[in-house]
Amino acid sequence: MLAGTRLFALILAFLHYVIGQANVNTLPACWENVDYVRTVDVSRTYLQETVQLHIKNVDEKPNDQYYFALPEENFETVALFSAKLKKADVFLHSAILSDQTFFVNGKPIKAGIVKLPSPIEPGKDTFIVIDLVYKSSAQPFPGHLKLGETQRLLLSTAKYPTSAYPIESYTLKFIGSSSFEEVKKVGGDEASCSNVNDEFICGTYSSLEVHREEDSISVLFDHNLPLPRVSTLNRDIWASHWASTLQFEEYYELINDAAPLKEGFSRADYMKGQHAFKPSGHLTALEMALPPQSEDHYFTDLVGAVSTFKFLQGHLFLKPRYPIFGDWKYNFTIGWTNALSQFLRVESGLDDTFLLSVPALNGPDNTFYDSVNLSIYLPEGAEVVDVWCPLPTDSTKITTKHSFFDLGQGHTKVAIELKNLVDTVSDSEVFVRYKFSNSSLYKKPFSIATAIFVASMAYFFLKHTTFLIEQ
């Protein structure tokens, strides 16, 4: 995908060179960044970036579209991109233009677009805040740790921002750790960063060109916490009108990206040092926030049930079979049941049309998801009218799947593929509107009853048939 895009970009660049100028994908230089403050929060498994922008219209006409350039290394793993006005705290319309490549100073970049609520007059300015969440590229440093050693992470990121517009003043801040330290490269720039009240501030730099040569900064910081990442989550949700339940089943493939152990895992040291109770890079328990009033919880993995889980006040606490150290994997399945009425509404005026709204995620806090397959199973015979997912989806398919007592075409399945999610989107809801008539509802028990009746009658008549040749 990425390679394809790059190749495409190369061909485009070549074409530009041949033809000359005039390209639709060149961004209009209509803005100027008066102040650009980039804050990188490293407190979580993924990186949360907040960019506070003071922008000024330098064009001749009023403009309401601001293009925010995204660094290419993060583009494939962006989980969230949102923008708001600084004063009003209102979300603005914004989107990532994933299938367009732009050229700034002859270099291809990717961009997100922000639409301002009202056009800004030439020469006027405004303040916007961009929130960007993406997969962390921080690596444990040193790469292997002994049991009980404090984990440090090394983050390499662009020192200067990729921006479509010139920047007058630029500041880079790191927050979210108690200690930051810059790792200097041989022959690199002079250190210009310092610790100020739990923040690590680099800059201020002034008068930056539009697209500078890549220059990276490496920051080393304490992060003595596990780095859970779910490489695959299969989230199945079964709606049953007969049982009036909504059943959830989730299969997680979890990996801890923290620093692996230097030597093998020594249970003796682990027990003596009571490391199970100390914060460190290993993961001893997971906490899942479930929808309220959930019942029938279970926790299994590929070799059977895991008995070490507890359900307390709406939260499911899981203790995996073994503490998950850096680079260790753990696949597991959890499930629970909720009342259907919590999630299902009947469309007003239409008796056979229902609106189902299900939470997008119920996973553990502070987790990055590489890929999520969300499947919603509607009763057999249901007809999907509409699916709406607030998150950017890779694909949405409507198929069928045979399950218990499905003698016809099977349960209607809505399969949604998502990529790059973070735990904070668990508030989002996925909506499915579907038609399910009463006749489909009663068809199932009737067909089962008929089948059993026919079988018993057949047995009865066969039993009464005589196969003797002579009496």
Partner: protein, 725 residues
């Protein structure tokens, strides 16, 4: 007429109800483990059957028959498709497919877990029909009830005990039922059915040889008793011809029915019946005196030819000689001396006498009475039951696991006894007729008779109640543990589970390379294959004694030598079971002597069992342990870092109650601990890579330790130097 019709309906209804409740009792008493733990496959062998079933379901039947498994017996692999009895897996795959067809896509694991309980209901049904043929339907119902809940059978058929025996006992009873019917009537249909179920049995369990020998034995005895008839002829020849041809279709059996000694009796009796049939034909044609001479001459001739032929064919290798397991049936010490691997399995040990009572309770003393009662009548079918009883009583005494085949016949015979007792003592109807006739029996006698009857009936009802109670208790306490998970208690008294096996297996599955090779004692081979999904060196299918001995030798050798042996076999991980921390007695140190013995059998010059005992002949792990023991890999891997949990000097082994010293355990240079489960039951070690500098790993380890020590020393020395200056 109408009344008798109504009576028949009521009888039918009652019978149906009784059968339903019996099946209910049979199934539910086998569910203890599912309710207490979970729907899980038990023990060791069922894990292989489960894995094979999954393979069958995923790849189809033909792929399954041609399955070459390269994940066991590394590097040899196993021709699994040709060396297993596919009946069990084929049946559950059929059930699985059938359920899917009717809209019930049940997980294959649940099909496997519930397999044995479901089939126990069929066993009860077959036992009922068998006993009906022996006595009457009253005895039949009793026998069915007994077999439904007898612990002797439950021991191998609880939910999750997905083993060949789970289906084999059912098939055994069905085959015998059809055989008795066929033998009584001469019906070709029944003997064909017997043959078909015999084929099914062959496809399911190696114990089919029991049928192969018992039915001919029955026929032989009947012929000796002069009870030959054309019915017997048609039944036996039909059964033998179809059964043998069919059984040869199983890849694992192949040409055994005509080449192995185990099957020769059936063939011999088949020939004998032909001769007897011919004889009886001649007898009906010629005079007695002529016939006598013909008979004597031909018998002598046939005997000579038969015996000589058997010897000759065995000598030239056309017929396989008896197998070791067979010899160990006759001489209980045979295995211990010649094949330690068979003796090392606990279920091959001779039965302790309380086991009979434990497994069958009061049936065990009704059993001989039943046999005696059958002797009094001695119909043709009774001869079968008597032969079965006598043979199986002996076998059950020799090997614990053959209690399983004895249990059904105990149930049948005791049902006959109890039903006979009840026929006599529970018959209160004659009283009324007696009274009306006003016989000369005095009032006193009548009352005494009534009291006697009530006492006998009451006593036996009490026994029956106790039996049910006992069965439930035994099932619940002795036979319902999955052995993969162990029950325990938390500090606050709440129930908890010790799940170390799955913890470690799952760790292996998740965090090691897909093609990693794991060396462990063969007991855990199937579980590693099933749960950890990793390649094993040896497993519970103990076909290659030498290969097992290699692992045994590695475990009993010093670290350096073991490393060499294991490296030669591409091993990545070594798994040992250690119970010393929580007192789990079934651990590897307790099995260690078998490893030593088995490897001594192959390398008597290098491994000597005597060297693993103290000079006074004790098996010890503490400071008195002999040096060979302390040096052995098993000792080191089991106790590595164990003393450091206590005070770093000495640790207490809770299984053996001995103090383990750190100085005896020492350091590991060739192996690295990679995982130990929560209660230390499973310990995993990785073989270290070769040293990059080309040193041997021991000196590399020595160097690392001495440099660490030396560093400390230098720091300590500094002040003294200062003082001098």
């Amino acid at each position: 007429m109408a009344q008798s019709q109504a009576l028949r309906w009521i009888q039918l209804l009652l019978k149906c109800t009784i059968f339903l409740s019996m099946t209910g009792a049979a199934v539910s008493s086998r569910l203890f483990s599912v309710i207490r733990f979970e729907s899980i496959i038990h023990e060791f062998d069922p894990w292989f059957n489960f894995r094979a079933t999954k393979y069958l379901v995923n790849h189809g039947f033909y792929k399954f028959l041609n399955w070459f498994d390269d994940r066991t017996w590394y590097p040899l692999g196993r021709v699994t498709g040709g060396t297993l009895y596919p009946g069990l897996m084929a049946t559950s795959a059929a059930v699985w497919h059938g359920l899917r067809k009717i809209g019930l896509p049940v997980d294959i694991r649940n099909v496997c877990v519930m397999f044995a309980p479901a089939f126990s209901g069929v066993t009860a049904w077959a036992t009922y029909h068998l006993t009906c043929e022996i006595k009457d339907s009253g005895a039949g119902l009793l026998a069915a009830a007994f077999i439904a809940i007898a612990p002797g059978y439950i021991s191998r058929s609880v939910a999750g005990s997905y083993d060949n025996e789970a289906i084999a006992i059912t098939l055994l009873m069905v085959t015998f039922m059809f055989w008795i019917k066929a033998m009584k009537t001469g019906s070709i249909m029944h003997s064909t059915l017997a043959a078909v179920f015999y084929f099914y049995m062959v496809s399911a369990w190696g114990g089919y040889v029991f049928i192969t020998n018992l039915i001919p034995l029955h026929v032989f005895i009947l012929i000796l008793m002069g009870r030959y008839s054309t019915r017997l002829y048609s039944a036996y020849t039909t059964w033998y011809a179809i059964g043998t041809m069919a059984s040869m279709q199983i890849p694992f059996v192949g040409f055994l029915p005509i080449r192995s000694n185990d099957h020769m009796a059936a063939l011999g009796v088949f020939g004998l019946t032909q001769i007897v049939a011919l004889g009886s034909f001649i007898k009906s044609q010629v005079s007695w005196a002529k016939f006598k001479t013909v008979m004597v001459v031909s018998i002598a001739f046939l005997l000579a030819v038969g015996v000589f032929g058997l010897f000759a064919l065995t000598y030239f290798g056309y017929i396989a000689p008896w197998t070791g397991r067979f010899y160990s049936l006759w001489d209980t010490n045979y295995a211990k001396i010649h094949i330690p691997i068979i003796a090392s399995v606990s279920e091959h040990q001779p039965t302790a006498w309380p086991a009979f009572f434990f497994d069958t309770q009061f049936l065990i003393w009704l059993f001989p009475a039943g046999v005696f009662l059958l002797f009094l009548e001695l119909k043709d079918e009774h001869v079968f039951i008597i032969a079965y009883s006598v043979l199986c009583s002996y076998f059950a005494g020799v090997m614990v696991r053959l209690m399983l085949t004895l249990t059904p016949i105990i149930c049948v015979c005791s049902a006959v006894t109890i039903s006979k007792l009840f026929d006599v003592y529970a018959d209160f109807s004659s009283k009324a007729t007696d009274a009306t006739v006003a016989s000369p029996i005095s009032q006193k006698t009548r009352i005494m008779t009534l009291v006697t009857k009530l006492t006998v009936c009451g006593t036996f009802l009490g026994y029956l109640y106790l039996f049910v109670y006992h069965c439930t208790w035994v099932t619940s306490n002795a036979y319902s543990s999955p052995s993969v998970v162990l029950p325990s208690r938390n500090q606050d008294g709440s129930p908890a589970l010790i799940d170390d096996f799955r913890e470690a297996y799952y760790w292996l599955r998740m965090n090691t390379a897909d093609d990693a090779k794991v060396a462990s004692w063969w007991d855990y081979g199937y579980q590693i294959g099933g749960m950890a999904d990793r390649t094993t060196l040896v497993d519970n299918n103990t076909w290659n004694n030498t290969h097992i001995a290699i692992v045994g030798k590695a475990m009993s050798s010093p670290e350096e030598k073991a490393y060499e042996i294991l490296k030669e076999h591409d091993v990545d991980y070594v798994l040992v079971i250690f119970g010393g921390l929580i007192g789990f007695s079934g651990d590897d140190i307790n099995k260690f002597l078998w490893m030593v013995r088995i490897s001594e059998g192959i390398w008597p010059d290098e491994i000597k069992e005597r060297e693993y005992f103290t000079s006074s002949g004790e098996y010890r792990m503490d400071e008195a342990a002999p040096q060979t023991m302390k040096d052995s890999l098993m000792y080191k891997l089991s106790y590595y870092r164990f003393p450091s949990l206590f005070n770093g000097v000495e640790g207490t082994d809770r299984v053996r109650g001995q103090r383990i010293r750190q100085q005896d355990v020492g350091e590991l240079d060739y192996f690295e601990e990679v995982f130990t489960s929560e209660n230390w039951i499973v310990r995993l070690y990785q073989l270290k890579e070769q040293d990059p500098l080309g040193r041997d790993l021991h000196s590399a380890g020595e160097f690392a330790r001495s440099s660490a020590r030396g560093f400390k020393k230098r720091i300590a020395k500094k002040p003294s130097v200062d003082v001098r200056v």
